[in-house]
Each structure stands twice: as C-alpha cells, then as structure tokens.
Symmetry: D3
Subunit: 176 residues, 6 copies
C-alpha cells in the first residue's frame, strides 16, 4: 500500500523503459511523472478546443493514467505482455482517494470522450518526446512511427481527426 | 511565442532553483514538470475529500501554475524579486489555448476554492520533496520549514486545517 | 532482431526498475549492464573456491542472464507477472551466437552447478548494491531483505551455505 | 550569510537557466561554477595578449562575477527582470572578504579595462558552450546569436575588435 | 586491500577517461563496469565462432581485464604513461581470489588465444561505443580511428582477420 | 594541440577520479573545471587576508593548475605514478598563451607565495567537497583525512598556520 509521497518519489525516479531500450541514457530519459505532466497538459489543450467535454476531467485522467507504475514499474510494449491485471492490482493497492482510482478505469475503458482524449494525449506526449531525441541523434524511429500511426487511427475512430492533424502539423514546424 | 512542444521540452529540463541553491546536484534535482505533476496529483487527492469543489479544475490549475517558467526560468524566492509581471507576460506569450491561461489567473488571485487548493498543493508538493532530500543528507531545512509554515497558515486562513493536518501526518509516517 | 551493438547500447541505458521504484534517481540507478558485470564477477569469485565447477562457465552464465532485457526492458518483480515466455522470445530474437542463448536456458533451469551459482550471484549482486543505496539514505529495505532471504534459501538448498555465509559476512564488514 | 563552502556547493549545483530553458537536460547543463571557470580562463588568455592590463585581476573579476547566484539562483535574461539590486544584496550578504566583493562592482560598472575584459569573457564563455550544444542537436540559436552580437558590439566599443575577432575565428575552426 | 563490494562500487562509478576528455559529460560516459560487460559479451560472441578456444575463459579474461582501475582509476592512453607496474600492484592488492588475478596476467601477456580474444574484444567494445557518441554529435574520431586500426592489426597478427572483419561489417549496418 | 574551447569542453566533462573511485556516481562527481573554480576562489579569499601577496595572481595560478588534465585526464594519487613529465608535456602542447603556461610552473615549483597559496587552496577545495559527500553517505574518509593532513603540514611549513586553521574552523561550523 503505497502512499502519495512514496508514489511521487517513485514516479519521479522511474525513467520510461521505451526510451532506455533505445539507448537514451537514464539521466536523459523522460520520467513517468514528466510523461504524466505532458499528457495532462496536452489533454487540457486539445479538449479546450472541443465542446461538450469536461476539459479538466480529461486532464485529470491523463494525469493519473500511469500512476500504477509506481508499484509495477514501466513495462515496455516490446515485452508483449498483458499487464492489465497487474496494473489494476497496483492501482487498487495505492493509498489514494477512490475518486482518483475511478479515473484510471475511465482511461482503460475509453468509454467517455474524456478517457479517449486522455488516451490520445498519452500518445501525443510520447510522440513529442521522440522528436526531441531524434534531433539529438538517437534512433527512436520505431517508437515515433508506431505512436503516430496509433494517434491517427484513434483520432479517425473517434472523429477527432481535424483537431489532431492540426496539432501534429504544429509540432512539425518546431521540430524540422 | 513558445509552442506546446517547446514548452514541454523546457519544463522537463528546468531543474528547480531552490533545490540547486541548496546543493542538490542538477541530475538529482526535481524538474518543474515533475513539480507540476506532483502539485496536480495532490490537488486531486485533497479536493476529492471536499464537497463543492471541482476537483478536476483544482488539479488543472495546479498542473499549469508554473508553465510561465518555460519562458523565464524558475526564479527562486531567495531572489526577493517581484516576478509577477514577468510571469504574466510569459504566460501571455505562450502559444496555448486561452482557457489554460485563465487558470493561471485563478491561481494568482486565489479567489476560488480551486485556486486555493492549487496553491496549497504547490506548497505540499515542495514539502514532500524536501523530506526526501533531507533523508539523503542534504540541508534543506530552511525550505522545509518555510513551506510548512505557509501550508499551515493558508490552511487556517481558508478553513482547510483538518484535511491538511491529516495529510501532513500521513507524510510523517513514511518519512520518519 | 537486435544485434550485439544495439544490445550493448540498450543494456547500458536500462536502469534497473527495482531501484527506480524505490526512489533512486535514474542518474544514480544501476544499469542492467552493470548488474551483469557484477553478477559475473561474483560468480567467478565464488566458483573459484569450489571444486568441480567450470568457473568460467558460471561467470558466462551470470554475464548474460538478463540480456533479453535489451528487448523487453527490466520488468520488476513487484509487477507479479510471469515474464518467462516474453524473456525467452526476446532471447531467441537476439542476433547473437546460439552458444550464448544456450547459457540462458541453463540459468533458467538451474540444473547445473554453474547455473545455480549464476543465480545466487545475481542475488548477491543486488544485495551488494542495496547496501550502498541504504548508506546514501534510500529506503531499499524490502529489496535488501527479500534478496538476502532468497540467497540463504538457495545456498541451503544447494549445499553452498558455508561459502555464501562467509561471503555475506565479508560484505557486512565494509558496509557497517 | 553564506560561507565559502556553502557558496561552492551552490555554484557547483546550479545549472544555468538559459540552457535548461532551451531543453538541455539538467545532467548535461553547464553549472555556474563551470561558467565562472571558463570565463576566468578566457579573461586570462585574452588579457595576456594586451599591454597595460592586470591579467590576473581580469581573471579574478571574471571568476567571481556570478557568485551572487549562490543566493538568488541564475535568473535568465528572458525573464526581462532588473536583477541588479537583488544581486548586489546577495553579494553583500556573502561571508567572504571585501576585496572579492569589490571585484563584483568593477564588473558591474565596466569602468576599468579589467572589468570590460571580464564582461566580454563572460559572453565568450557562453558562446563557446552554445557551439557544443548545437553540435549535439540542441536548438540554442537564439542564445548563440544574441551573445555573438553582444561580443562584437562590446569589442567595437572598447577597441578590442582585432583580438576578439581573432579569438572567434579560432573557435570556428574547431566547431565546424 | 579492496574487497569485492568496494570494487564493484568503484567500477560502477568510474566513467572512462577517454570519453570525458572528448567532452562526453560524466552522466553520459560509459563506466568501467559497463566496458567490462561489453568486452566480455563480445569475447563470448567471437570465441563461440572459433574452435579450440575456451570461450568462457575468454569471456572471463575480458570481464576482469580492467578491475585494477578500482584502485588506480582509468588512466587515459593520452597520458603516455607506462601504467603496467601500477596496474599490477593494484591487481595484487585486491581482496579477490588468486584465480581471478591470474586471468589478468593472461590478458597482459597475450600468450593464449583466450587472452588475445579478450584484448581484441576490449578494443571492439570501445569502437562500438564510439559509434554511438559520434551519432550523438560528439567528436570522438581520434579514438574511433585509433581503436579500429589496432583491431585490424591485432586480428591480422593472430590470423583472426576473417571473423573480425565480419564483426565490424555487422556494426556498420546498424550505425550508418 | 588543444585549443581553449576544446580545453573547456574537456575540463567540464572530466569528473575527478578520486571521487569516482570512492563510489561517487559520475553524475554527482565534481568536475575538474569545478575544482579549478573552487581552488581559485579559495586562493582569492585566503590571499585577501595576507599582505605582500598578489592575490589575483594566486587565484590565477589556482585556476589553471590542472588544465593539463584536458589532455591526460585526472590521474588519481592512488595510482602512485609520477605524472609530472606527462603533465608538463600536456601543458606545453596546449594552444594557449605562454603567460598561462608559466603559471603552471610556478604552481609546480612552489617557490613563490602565490604558488604556495594555490597549492593549499587546491587541497582545501578537495577537503570542502569531501565534507559534502560524507554528509550524503559516501565513504571518503581516506581522502578527507589525507588532504587535511597535507593542508596542516603545508601551512606549518610556510607559516600560514593561523589563517588556515581559522579557515578550517569556519568549515566545521557549516558541516557538523
């Protein structure tokens, strides 16, 4: 049963496994807490442009979507492991308010617009970081391309294509 | 005019000045993005225990309260400088949605319960990190004590004493 | 299919998840390659004191026991996930000599004295690092205690108690 | 009142804000103590080529020109804040010999050739570091260009153009 | 008299001097323990393709060839100093099994095929790391070229040209 | 032939070998440029209290006393190697003004009061850093004690006992 202070210490120290696997040194690798910050900020930005969305809730879902990693660590997609049960157990074991835990289930189920935006923001956040590492000479192509494809697919599926394509175009201007 | 990707790159790289001044090495110092994550999570936790609070909005205010630092850097309280104008100009120059900028003004003015909770969460977040550095042999007493005093004062002023004192007690159990 | 150079880049950059979960900052956390070096050196030391052991083989098994993590990352024990299939797939996908892959299976099955020594050396290596982090103010008690218990159990099971207890006593002298 | 040991601990840990704002990670960012070393060495080199200059004094002025940051941190130029009063208060509060404090005033006033050389060396030092970050894929153009312009302007104003242009040419040879 | 735990702590913390001299920041520089891991893994790979070689012994020699640096540090080739006596004294002073110390002498004398493979693997390991730093914008040309030349010369001298040239070609495919 | 920009890049990246040998991680270890800054500042402070000393020259000697390490790296005292010839060759090969090289010889010969103060400041600087690492849980006793003894001996030999003992007492107040 991990308390909020321990949870913060963990998320600040866990560097994301995907980057490290690609050769980004631990001292340079994005931490989970930084990933959650960026996902949340992007969710706020995107949902501010939409009607009928609780933008603060979307941001809150994005903020907490990976907090179970404080218990189980950041398990890479390349492990090809179903981590959903492990992650749920982790979330349940955390000593935090149930209102926060509920948000995680909304992220997992993607059955609300806020949960969907959080999911896309998670991917956009990873995409943005990949652009920086690429400029610095790291080979993160496979992550960048996979994530971009997922972003496009999700935004089509949920009729968010216009707003997301616009968002992606803005990134290309900075990161050419 | 800084775009959201540049903003994220900056906030991930800016280590907080207060810690570095106290001798915490840059590689170990909390970044601004990590501080914003923790502040936002704490705001969510605290406001989940209160009625009549938009907890997601409180979390969102805490999330963005320092994003102006992407432009101006993290100016230490020890500088004794009024940075409010500089920070406002920074916020205004950011290429992000106006809805986000409005949240900053709610933080600054402290005229809503959500803004007040964000403010206390900002301080609690700093307090939590100070406990970790102290255990690791750093002398961060002055920050820890100042921040705790501010927390107590604010929670008294806004009738949040019970909930905040409880929160602080929980921290002491982990960090003895 | 990861080649030996990519494999080295990955293992040098992957910080071990157990330490990061406990709040050890990425820049300070032991990498997988460092863990494999230490495990291998310890295997060499311990098996040098035993008869009827191919000490170089024991060292080689310890050296490569985690190289699959170059593909799947370092999945923490706290995740409570059976990663054996994922790890085997990873090993098989590596573009390295089959002779090396065979060593991994000897580690997993623990059906040779060399495989057993590699397993104990893996644990001893983790124990040694936990002593250092503890001195530096980190709370790694749970890892330290679990690992020590496993060491004792394994050394009893395989009649290596004398030599391992001696080894542990030596560590306590340095790390008091 | 900060003593010389605390002052050294602080300046070794404060990473320069300008670099971090541009996305250079804290672990890679130049510290204030490193900046002061480089400024001082450059002052020694440049003034060694001039007559009628106390080269050791020029180096000493460059060495200490930012020591007030041990109290107030490194406030970025992008903050557009007049930090001169804050910096003077900081210098005065330091528990160091008055002879050292006097050097700071000579830097600020630029009314001696040694103070002027220290000022140009401060800028040259920043320019040199920007060239390294640029090669490593960081976008530090705005700092590099601003600093170069200031260097040229100052060297014209004080009739040091020949020697400074020569110095800059040498740098371009290494950093192409 | 350094014990195995202190030895591991040292080798994990000593960043290789050659890289740091070339401007690779300490947080990014390969440590001696990482170098020994990579050398050992390469020795295992190469000798697995050869007959009449104790591949595990070759790996073990490569594993320990620099452990004396736990006492004397990593003295750069650019120092042009004969460090052989100093290194031997260091090895002898280590509190490790004599069987390990013997391996060092086999590395130094290069009078067995296992010792020779360890020597080439040491160089190949350095070459591989130089390719990564080069991609990240560092100027490590002189190390890369010197090491490659030594590799070619040694492989010719000991009739290992085919296998080593093949190994080098594989690296070029990843690191183009 | 190393130019001033390359020299600065090197000295900023070379972490001091003594600390790393003692287990201080590269990301936390003092760099040579930081050591030279601190030595120089201490020389300025101490000589400001003395008559008949060119305090700026003492600071300048301390500033450059290790710049040869940009070529040869930081060779630890524990290597027991006479590095004086190697260091002189390094200094001579640097592409810097001869006036700077002369200062190095004054440091080496210790035949002027300024050279002596630089030498003591070099040691005091190391002592100050050892106090910080000790507080953070590292075992740097042997360095701390050796350096303190050398400081006392030198200050007795050159009749600087009063001023140095006072300086040391000030440090003990902060670092209890």
């Amino acid at each position: 049963m991990s308390k909020i202070d321990e949870l913060i210490y963990s998320l600040n120290s866990i560097a994301r496994s995907g980057w490290m696997i690609k050769g980004i040194e631990p001292c340079k690798a994005e931490t989970v807490s930084q990933h959650l910050f960026a996902s949340s900020l992007i969710a706020l930005e995107i949902s501010s442009k939409l009607n009928n969305v609780d933008k603060y809730k979307a941001a809150s879902i994005a903020l907490i979507h990976d907090i179970g990693e404080a218990i189980i660590g950041d398990i890479s997609k390349t492990a090809n492991i179903d981590k959903s049960k492990s992650e749920k157990d982790a979330i349940n074991s955390l000593d935090i308010n149930n209102e926060i835990k509920k948000l995680y289930y909304e992220f997992e189920s993607s059955n609300t617009i806020e949960g969907i935006i959080a999911k896309i923001s998670d991917l956009l956040s990873t995409y943005i970081i990949s652009l920086k590492y690429e400029r610095e000479g790291y080979n993160v192509n496979s992550i960048k391309d996979n994530v971009k494809e997922e972003i496009i697919n999700l935004s089509k599926k949920y009729n968010l294509e216009n707003i997301i394509i616009d968002f992606l175009k803005g990134l290309d201007k900075t990161n050419k």
